[in-house]
């Protein structure tokens, strides 16, 4: 029996959207078969190249630990010192581009075609993209980042041989407590506000546009159809997708590394569990096992449930700290921080002639690379929520709402810790290491052992939600945009994310993880810049 429906070619355009006509068939480059008893359906070069490189990488780091430690120690400063301006310029372009689209007539284009109606409410999907995209970071940096910037700014600047050796943002605020708080909060919000969400929005918008309006597969290369045409299905596209896989995998491994060190610090603080690589490896292994259960249960049965539980817990912790902490100071601080952000934004985002080299290279450039490496992953989640929204509606929601949530989070957690220093003279959180600051701050509030335990649970579950949703996204990209590839493939990626996190932690610790994020973020920044151009071309042919 032959039937028309067995023809997998992209058919004639139907409906009101502007479907791109191409001879490419989704899944045409896929290997479908089985390896022994395990079935698979993978995109040939993308899966094989990215899978083989990552396996090779894991073995290299395990076999030659000393050599790889030296290498990673050199890599991160080498890249940030050379290319910090590039990350800065690119991130500024993304923000300006999003703002331009909001006010331009392109803002009227509806994702999914003129008559499309929204598929989802925002709540469940926002929970997922937060839990996946920023969860561990919010736990790790919620107290530690505002506190670090406040302390360094208060400490003032220090110049040796014409080079700033301090880590303070901009010109610091030596000895001026109020100014140091404002500068510290502004610098933190700068890293968690408009810029990261503009980066995510670019990827999400291009995926949504080329998937829902143009009918191309749900994979990064589809966004480049207007630039490369049919070549996008060849090696050009393979390279783009492979870069996206690397960026996601190393971005994920970094967050997992942060999560493991922080959970370890918290367990040590609460129960005296020893701090060290052994505990971290055990933590990563156990948590990866939980993530495995979650990916095997799927998007609705695993990932979504865990994300919603986690967002609920995080919200309870936020409200708790807000109420028992210095409530009034936090609320006035929230407004004040927002104003400070607006005031310092031009100076903080300036790419050239920066004197605060440690801050701009060590913090900002690293953050931009980290967000960029996360962008394929978070972008894909946002793309799925956005069908049926107009470009304007979509960008306003993706830029503003998550930015405000992050500002609130930082104001509550960081604000409380800073208040402890200024008003109570408690410097426990200020003196502690980055991963311990959260627990030191909670220790000063009532019910400390309960909230610290909730903090550890949150880190662990955020770890799980990052790992499982990351596996789903990498699986989709390496299956050529198919979302129904066999489950064992997800299992493979989930295990390897854990493995990469472990070997990077062993071979050079967090420095190794950060070095890999930056070096995979760099080529992907070029990809994102081209994506802006492709979005413009794609929007131009749509009905406005």
């Amino acid at each position: 029996m032959t039937d028309e429906t067995t023809n997998q070619g992209i058919p004639e355009p139907e409906g009101e959207s502007d479907i791109i006509q191409t001879d490419y068939e989704i899944g045409q480059d896929n290997f479908e078969g089985s390896l022994g008893p395990i079935g698979f359906d993978i995109h040939n070069p993308v899966f094989v190249v990215s899978g083989a490189t990552i396996v090779a990488f894991v073995f290299y780091a395990l076999a030659l630990p000393e050599q790889s430690t030296t290498f990673f120690g050199w890599l991160r400063p080498a890249v940030t010192a050379q290319f910090d301006w590039f990350f800065f310029v690119a991130a500024d372009i993304f923000v300006l581009f999003c703002l331009f689209l909001i006010v331009s007539p392109y803002g009227r284009v509806r994702l999914g075609g003129v008559d499309a109606t929204p598929d989802y409410s925002y709540i469940g999907w926002f929970a997922m993209l937060f839990a996946a995209g920023m969860g561990i970071g919010l736990m790790f940096y919620g107290v530690s980042e505002p506190m670090s910037h406040f302390s360094t700014a208060f400490g003032g600047s220090n110049v040796e041989n014409g080079v700033r050796t301090d880590w303070a943002p901009l010109g610091a605020a030596a000895g001026d407590e109020a100014a140091a708080v404002r500068l510290g909060m502004a610098a933190t919000i700068f890293h968690w506000g408009l810029h990261p969400w503009a980066i995510y929005a670019i990827v999400a918008l291009s995926l949504a546009l080329f998937t829902y309006n143009k009918g191309l597969p749900l994979t990064i290369r589809s966004a480049f159809y207007p630039i490369f045409g049919e070549r996008v299905w060849g090696w050009t596209g393979h390279i783009i997708d492979t870069l996206a896989v690397f960026a996601t995998l190393f971005g994920l491994a970094t967050s997992l590394g942060f999560g493991a060190t922080q959970a370890n610090a918290g367990l040590n603080e609460l129960f005296g569990v020893p701090v060290g690589p052994t505990t971290e490896v055990v933590l990563i292994t156990v948590i990866t096992a939980v993530a495995l259960v979650s990916v095997v249960r799927g998007l609705d049965g695993g990932v979504k449930i865990l994300s919603e539980i986690n967002m609920g817990l995080a919200f309870v912790l936020l409200i708790f700290v807000l109420l028992v902490g210095p409530t009034l100071a936090i609320l006035t601080g929230f407004a004040d921080s927002l104003l400070a952000y607006v005031e310092y934004l031009p100076a903080l985002s300036n790419p050239f002639g920066r004197e605060d080299v440690n801050f701009s290279q060590g913090w900002t450039a690293f953050y931009w690379a980290w967000w960029i490496s996360w962008s394929p992953f978070v972008g894909m989640f946002i793309a799925r929520v956005s069908r049926g929204r107009t470009v304007r509606e979509f960008l306003i929601c993706v830029l503003l709402i998550p930015s405000l949530v992050c500002v609130l989070w930082m104001s509550v957690f960081g604000g409380t810790a800073i208040h402890q220093v200024i008003a109570d003279g408690f410097t426990g959180a200020q003196d502690a290491t980055l991963e311990l600051k959260l627990f030191k701050m909670l220790g000063e509030l009532p019910l400390a052992s309960i909230t610290s335990f909730v903090g550890i649970i949150l880190v662990v579950v955020f770890f799980v939600t990052s790992s499982d949703s990351g596996s789903l996204v990498i699986d989709t990209i390496t299956a050529g945009g198919k979302v129904d590839a066999p489950v064992p493939q997800r299992v493979f990626w989930c295990i390897f994310e854990g493995a990469v996190a472990i070997v990077l932690l062993l071979g050079g610790g967090l420095a190794a993880l950060q070095a890999m994020v930056i070096s995979t973020g760099l080529p992907f920044t070029v990809v994102l810049l081209m994506m802006c151009w492709a979005i413009l071309k794609g929007l131009h042919t749509e009905t406005r």
């Binding site: 029996m1 032959t2 039937d3 028309e4 429906t5 067995t6 997998q8 992209i10 058919p11 139907e14 409906g15 479907i19 068939e25 989704i26 899944g27 022994g36 008893p37 395990i38 079935g39 999914g112 598929d119 998937t211 829902y212 009918g215 191309l216 597969p217 749900l218 095997v296 249960r297 799927g298 998007l299 609705d300 049965g301 799925r384 069908r387 789903l472 945009g481 198919k482 979302v483 129904d484 590839a485 066999p486 489950v487 064992p488 997800r490």
Partner: protein
Amino acid sequence: MFTKIMVPVDLAHAARLTRATQVAAELARLYQAETCYVAVTAPTPGPAAHNPQEFAAKLEAFAQGEAASHGHKVSSHSVVCHDPAVDLDHALLETRKEIGADLVVMASHVPGVTDYLFPSHGGRMAKHSKVSVMIVRED
């Protein structure tokens, strides 16, 4: 004996289902039953269609094609689910209840070792469905 037969089909691989669809059509003629072809898709573009609407249209066309070659009464029902790789079985079980089918005819592969870890769709269906399920081996 049967009034409505549900036949789950994979639109991307419709050609592989010859035996199952043929058996279903013959049973339908024997019992004067309606055959409802069911397929599951994600909201994203897939090998079979660009969007769920087009998917539903193609499934209906497939059903009509079956009717034309076997002369039985057909209908079609497409299901959209977020994560078909995992939720397929559940979606099929729910759909069976929803359309009120009293027999399921579906294709399945010859079982292997991995079926202990990841059971086949046909196997799950037979295990959990309240009505008769006929599994047709394709190879």
